[in-house]
């Protein structure tokens, strides 16, 4: 066995110059495939579709440049583990993609072991559960884990929004449990007590009983852990209908079109988000914002910027590998990314990766809903 291996390596080395010449003459015809495994239908479907717009824009730009072709293969996970596994198997085994853009905690947790096994690299800009820390050497998050964002928003709520009594509404899920735990820890570190903790099912539509229980404790603010825009919008709307006029706290997933659909009721909601300024002067951001606005006649949001960045990052790593004449496999991608890209400056700002546990640090802001739009109100770091 060893001998054959050694021989094939030698053969491979000697054949390399010919092979590369062949590859160069093929030119544009080298097509890189990347998987996009996200909810495209269901309660998170609208958000997933939005994210696809960001990624698709990057694919179109790169293909227009002509130096290489990228083919994006989208599969619908519906944010469910089962569909995620089926979709991942198809991407990895039928389409043979080395790299998949994915998201949502349940899906990532389910496919991470498969990714480790099949050496397919996963990047996510839409999973926030700290339970995903070190879930796989083939998983890297580009979205801050929520225990870190909780450490930013709770002190802000206590000091700037004068929140003394906090109610906690957790979704029964990995993410909900992890978030609930970090909120309780952080809030007691601030020397405060939770007034109540209530939970709800991910398919629930009637939150009135849970909200009645929370409102009975007269909280100043309610932290809602749901990552599903439709659910969060329902929670806020039903609480307002029950006469609650206080604050809602949340995190990045709150920036969802469903929230804006409930109009004025969504005001007095505050959440953290990575810094993304459509008016930023740096060239990457400006180019992206212009191109997106041209294509869709509306400005992009943070999620579209993130998913645009993911494809550009993929393309940059792939370009490096092509220069080094290395084949684009999940393994090579991982080596190249972790050795050459400790940080990445994209349209949505700077990503500082921690490859040891798959986490990322980004500069963070507090945003709120004002006059039917998501607006930034403060920097957090």
């Amino acid at each position: 066995m060893t001998m054959i291996d050694r021989r094939s390596v030698v053969l491979g080395l000697s054949a390399a110059p010919f092979l590369t010449r062949g590859a160069v003459s093929q030119g544009v015809s080298t097509t890189y495939r990347l998987g996009f495994l996200m909810p495209l239908t269901g309660g998170s479907g609208k958000l997933g579709q939005m994210m696809l717009e960001g990624s698709q824009l990057a694919v179109d730009e790169i293909n227009a440049e002509g130096s290489r072709k990228i083919e994006l293969i989208a599969e619908d996970s519906q944010a469910l583990a089962k569909n995620g596994i089926d979709g991942f198997r198809k991407l990895a085994e039928v389409d043979k993609v080395p790299f998949v853009i994915t998201g949502w905690t349940a899906v990532v947790a389910a496919i991470a072991p498969l990714a480790t096994e099949s050496k397919v690299y996963l990047l996510s800009a839409s999973s926030a559960s700290p339970a995903l820390r070190s879930v796989s050497p083939y998983f890297q998050s580009t979205w801050m884990f929520d225990d870190e964002t909780v450490r930013l928003i709770l002190p802000y709520a206590a000091q700037k929004l004068n929140v003394a009594k906090l109610g906690l509404l957790t979704e029964v899920s990995d993410l909900g449990a992890a978030l609930g735990a970090s909120i309780k820890k952080e809030w007691s570190r601030l020397g405060k007590e939770l007034s109540i903790e209530e939970s709800f099912q991910s398919k629930e539509t009637n939150f009135r009983p849970s909200l009645l229980k929370i409102l009975a404790t007269k909280p100043d603010a309610i932290y809602n852990t749901s990552s599903n825009g439709k659910l969060s919008a329902q929670v806020v709307r039903q609480a307002r209908e029950l006469g609650y006029e206080g604050i809602f706290l949340s995190y990045g997933a709150f920036e969802d079109p469903e929230i804006l659909a409930i109009g004025q009721k969504a005001e007095k909601c505050f959440y953290t988000s990575p810094t993304f300024d459509t008016t930023a002067r740096n060239e990457t951001t400006r180019k992206f914002v212009d191109a997106f606005t041209r294509k869709h006649s509306r400005p992009p949001n943070i999620h579209q910027a993130n998913h645009y960045d993911l494809v550009q990052l993929f393309s940059a790593v792939a370009a490096n590998l092509a220069r080094e004449k290395a084949p684009l496999t999940g393994q090579a991608f991982r080596t190249e990314l972790t050795s050459k890209f400790p940080t990445y400056d994209g349209a949505a700002g700077r990503y500082r990766f921690n490859f040891a546990d798959g986490s990322v640090m980004r500069s963070t802001v507090v945003k709120t809903v004002k006059d039917g739009a998501f607006v930034k109100i403060a920097d957090l770091d």
Binding site: G42, G43, T205, L212, A216, E241, E258
Partner: protein, 293 residues
Amino acid sequence: MTSSMLLLNLIVDGVTLGCIYSLIAIGFSLLWWIAGIVHIAHGATMLAGGFALFAALEMGGAGLSVALLAGLLGAVALGVIVEIFMYRPLLNRGTDEMGILTASLGALIFFEYAITIAFGPEGATLDAGGLRTPVIQGLPLVFDRFSALIVCVTLLTFLALWFLLAKTQIGREMRAIASNLDLAEVLGINIRLVQVYAAAIAAALCLPPAAFLLFNTGLVPSEALHVVLVASVVAILGGRGSLLGALVAGLLIGVAESAMTWRFAAGWRQLITFSLLYVLLLVRPQGLFGERV
């Protein structure tokens, strides 16, 4: 707010929820009583009514009364179509109860996903706006005008239905068919026609609960099966042939589901509904007010 005040609020909220359950159950029950059809597709007629209302209001820009009429037409049209083109031919072929039930389930799934394709899986929600102000200002009791409306409409609907069944010719014919099919035939009642009326009335009864859901928690296509299941539990719990039973059973389940969150996590609510059903069928299969199985 004290703990007992919270319980009171939960019960009040449970009553409005229970009213919606009763309304859905009564439409479902009508075909069950009269034609022996387990009308699973009732969930689809409710979706049809709700989404016709939504489409007229939001997309067509119609006023509320026109939109309600559109919803009524949507529900009745689908109910009658299912009766004439599915139940009728199946009954004519002598298809048994389970066969009709399976076809009805198929029809529910078909229309549910047809609506999903047309309106998207997220469903529709509308805002009750000004109706969400409390009936009596300044009380810690959460009882708004929308909830009051639900309770009033439910009571009126049940009264009207009672009047229809007890005092009108068509109602008497329906009851005759329900209690003894052969005798009704001998008496010269046009059974086919009466069943079409029953299907139309059952479908029309979908409109109030569909509208209430639309303005309350939202109308989601994938909820259709679950809604019918709750309706069937209410129908069985209430007992075959009993209007009062359906009303009481709906309220009972609504209040039980809501009140249990006083001490338990909300996620366990459905456990109440279905455990109640299980125990009941073991000990009293004819239901609370029913006379026979």
